[in-house]
Symmetry: C2
Subunit: 328 residues, 2 copies
Amino acid sequence: MIGITRLLAACLWVCVCGPLLAADALPSWKDGSSRQAIVAFVDKARRPDSPDFIPVEQRIATFDNDGTLWAEQPLYFQALFVFDRIRALAPQHPDWKTTKPYRSVLNGDMKGLAAAGEKGLMELMVATHAGMTTDEFSATVSDWIATAHHPKSGKPYTSMVYQPMLELLAYLRANGFKTYVVSGGGQEFMRPWMERVYGIPPEQVIGSQGELKYEMRDTGPVLVKQAKVVLIDDNVGKPVGIQRFIGRRPVFAFGNSDGDLQMLQWTTAGTGLRFAGLVHHTDAKREWAYDRKSKIGTLDKALDEAAQKGWTVVDMAGEWKVIYPPAR
Amino acid sequence: MIGITRLLAACLWVCVCGPLLAADALPSWKDGSSRQAIVAFVDKARRPDSPDFIPVEQRIATFDNDGTLWAEQPLYFQALFVFDRIRALAPQHPDWKTTKPYRSVLNGDMKGLAAAGEKGLMELMVATHAGMTTDEFSATVSDWIATAHHPKSGKPYTSMVYQPMLELLAYLRANGFKTYVVSGGGQEFMRPWMERVYGIPPEQVIGSQGELKYEMRDTGPVLVKQAKVVLIDDNVGKPVGIQRFIGRRPVFAFGNSDGDLQMLQWTTAGTGLRFAGLVHHTDAKREWAYDRKSKIGTLDKALDEAAQKGWTVVDMAGEWKVIYPPAR
């Protein structure tokens, strides 16, 4: 028995202590204040002799997606997916040529779309999502993500994820953290590709959700997407989504906009060691530079609260050696 | 490097092969058809050389709670919790003495309660749950579960869990399965004690859910329980809950009533190796005997479908050596 115990202890040492060399774990982060804050947090959380030690089951880390793990300009990528779906489905809906807001999409009329506002976007989402089974929708998203290209960069959307954040996700997981996405984006839009791209399995993807209906068909049971929204997982909806899905308060959270403020408040209001981070889009050359006055990804109130509370604010231009993963 | 590789391989052998001796893993199960079906399933799922091998990330196992993991007679234990709360809160609500359905609870008038039906029970739940913060509610449940006793057995409720099912949960986890509860019971009612009692963490507890509201108070942010229901996680709601929370179809599911039928249909409709099980309450001596005509835990349509489809039906009286864990 001593043999096995020693073997296990040694194995535990390899598993637990092996991946912790931060210099190796975060190669795309310059040795700035953000990287130092992250490494200091993880170090305090994981050491059994640390006064701030966090038991493994409580190591919950939540990440916003749009603007935090991948880009979000000139529009949320899911909106671009919806527009592509409208164009693909248009031949079956001749009336769309003359009906708002469909007409605006088909004519590339961004002003008209902006005028239609959130209500217009919601109508487009319902028209392209509702009535599909979850399996059909998942296949549609998988096809799109494999073939579509960003209108400005010309790259596949999954090439516009942030390399330093991929490293951060892996570093946290290597240290016993369970990593979650908590996004305003649609849950069923994110799940088909996040396991492959971020290493985050479907059960750790929390997003906005529509109602589902169980139906028994001749071919077997299906779940059909309905027009009704059951959770808008943004702003005040993020702590709600976290509680509903995880049932534990995170100890670590990262966002990039005012839509993440409540998630950061909720995370840091717990007792014990906590971490709150914001990606600040300061890099007009390699990505986009925007904050307080941006229509997409507004970072205003959360930037003020971060300064007051000492949250970590990542200067993309100054702290990230690269933005996107190297082309493969 | 070879040293570490061998060490890891040896460790993996100990971790993966160690707990698989089913004779040790399921001591409370007689060597009947149910135990044989379970062991055969797990064996096929875990062996890399098996044609039915299931990759670890797809080893999702879902369990109903009431009547499957713990008892549910003479009433769902959560209803008994609600009645206890009504009695505890009555001094603050003098009008309850004369108002239905509260009066029925305070007078122990089960006929009056039955007449109030589901609507009445919902009103009682709202009166005792809504307006509390999630932290307050969790503390209330924890107090109750630690001190309350079952009206018939006189035991703490957590002593009325099924020992053979505890062994099954542990056996599945030892073989790489992720175990979930998928119950019609309230999610926030189950989470405070299931990690300790079943080894199932809060993020793997799916149940019926009320709306939550994020509020910033002087003392910090809170989530307040609202009267509105957002998911009834029973019948057709179970596949909906599974898709919403897990986003993957389970490969293994266990229930005990018609409320679990759709979960078993949804699970077995997937491709590849699948397992569907039902606990059949046949033991009037050690527990309760009921099925087709019971008001609580009706097992009728699902029993017929199990016979047609060859699902595993556990004969509690004949297949379980013990029902409850030994007193500690």
